[in-house]
Amino acid sequence: MSDILTVRNARKSYGAVKALRGADLSVAAGEVHALCGDNGAGKSTLIKLVSGVERPDEGDIHVRGEKVRLANPHDALAAGIATIHQDLGLAPRMMIYQNIFMGSELERRVLGIKVLDRAAMIARSQDFLISLNSVMRDMTAKVENLSGGQRQAVAICRALRWKAEIIIMDEPTAALGVRETEEVMKLIRRLKENGVTVILISHNMHDVVAVADRVTILRGGRTETSLSTDGLTSQALSERIMGGA
């Protein structure tokens, strides 16, 4: 399989703190790739480099085999990489379709004047959600009235609206209960079925083993190992992360 995203020998320091001291990451197209590691291992920092939030001190990032410079989040989006932060970046009191199309609203011309194309945005929002097998009927419902799993689906739809091919999710289930976590796992599987590459940061070993194809483990700012989840138990994964085995 070809790699859609590779990071080689990434280094990043914040003053005296060496957050990354030579981290590698290879993500194959279409896989669900988990990023694990203890607190402070450098997961979020690595993701910041890939999503254009921070620049590496050293190291290269390749997308689809081509070296890229991601100077800002916009560059990352242009390269097809969308990041869903833990707070999801939604406006709770705005409607579902308004959130999905936030910043890239659809318009049509009426008498030469550009006006919002509400009907088209509603229809396409519905399509995006259906592609995720997510059942929400009213696209004009406010996001604040949705469950945690449904909100996650709306955030993913916005990434799809941006035509993202790689979706990075930072701790998507950290604040969710059992049932909602299961919903998010379904969303991730569905994304994979649709050919989207997912990078998942998670502290929950059960989730990782259940949904990911591969895991990259960071420790102390370095890549410890990258392994397939085939036959991997959550217990064994925990031990690898702690550095036991």
């Binding site: 989040p73 939604l90 406006a91 705005m94 308004q98 910043g103 609203e105 550009k114 919002l116 916005r158």
Partner: protein, 313 residues
């Protein structure tokens, strides 16, 4: 049902007050008086529409009334000094718009909270009106064309009412039907999320505050034309009235959110109450008390946006 009350309760209450005044306030129902109420509403509704734009992006503008006074004395002063009235009107509009732009730069560029920044520009504008006028009003026999801006009629409808309708309709269209309006709304609702979604949030705030200034300019020109005089602080009373209209409006149609339709109905209710209180023979000070009650009651019903605007830095 509950939803219905939340959306239309205030408007219905306004309707009840209207009916009450029709029945109990002598002369309220006369067409001359009703037209008068509508004319009074026009200044207020235009100013409040501007404030709505600022508040939509979650910024306060406490300077719009003083900017209107400043624009009024600039326009009046120029006309009194012999300048062609149309130029004077442009100058008035420009001064108020510039004031709004300065507010916008202070808030988005220098990062002064809008509560403080606009309080500052309000004081400066007030000082300038006294500097320009020396404390006395400009009065005179002014070009009838200019006076017609406020006193004339278009197809039998007072120009004032036509201008108000145009301002309110355009503002409603922009906020509800255009990308610009949606971006302003998203900026006010969730600035960080909007920014991450690629919306130029600082520009939206700049536009909101600038539009507030521009609206103050329009109202100022109409006030001067209506009174054919311009004096310092001539729009001063509109600060509390305008804010009350917007806050009252936030209890209607889109509860908790500044919205143009609500602002318009809010302005209508406030002008109607002011007029009705006079006709009922209520003492003059009751009007201020009423405004205070409206402001506090409205905010206690739907406070979120305003709190954010007042306390965001």
């Amino acid at each position: 049902m509950r939803d219905f009350i939340a959306k239309y309760g205030t408007a219905l209450a306004g309707l009840l007050v209207f009916v009450f005044l029709l029945v109990f306030a002598r002369n309220f129902a006369s067409s001359a008086n009703l037209l008068n109420v509508l004319k009074q509403t026009s200044f207020l509704a235009i100013l409040a529409t501007g404030f709505t734009f600022a508040l939509l992006t979650s910024e306060l503008d406490l300077s719009f009334a003083n900017l209107a006074s400043l624009a009024a004395v600039v326009t009046g002063g120029l006309i009194a000094g012999g300048t062609f009235w149309a130029l004077a009107v442009v100058a008035g509009l420009a001064v108020a718009t510039l004031g709004g732009l300065v507010n916008g730069f202070l808030v988005t560029g220098v990062k002064v909270p809008s509560l403080i920044a606009t309080l500052g520009t309000a004081a400066i504008a007030n000082g300038l009106t006294f500097m320009i006028t020396g404390g006395v009003a400009f009065v005179g026999r002014w070009d009838p064309m200019f006076l017609a801006l406020a006193r004339g009629e278009l197809f039998g409808i007072p120009v004032l009412v036509v201008v108000m309708a145009a301002v309110v309709l355009i503002a409603w269209f922009v906020t509800r039907k255009t990308r610009l309006g949606t971006h302003m709304l998203a900026t006010g609702e969730a600035q960080e999320a909007a920014h991450r979604a690629g919306i130029a949030t600082r520009r939206m705030k700049l536009i909101g505050l600038t539009l507030s200034g521009f609206a103050a300019g329009i109202a100022a020109v109409l006030l001067v034309a209506n009174l054919s005089s311009a004096s310092p602080q001539m729009a001063g009373d509109y600060l509390l009235n305008g804010i009350a209209a917007v806050l009252l409006g936030m209890t209607m149609f889109e509860p908790g959110r500044p919205n143009i339709a609500g602002t318009f109905v809010g302005a209508l209710i406030i002008s109607m109450l002011a007029n009705g209180l006079v006709l009922l023979g209520a003492p003059y000070y009751l009007q201020d008390i009423m405004l205070g009650v409206i402001v506090i009651a409205s905010v206690s019903v739907s406070a979120s946006v305003l709190k954010k605007a007042a306390f965001s830095v």
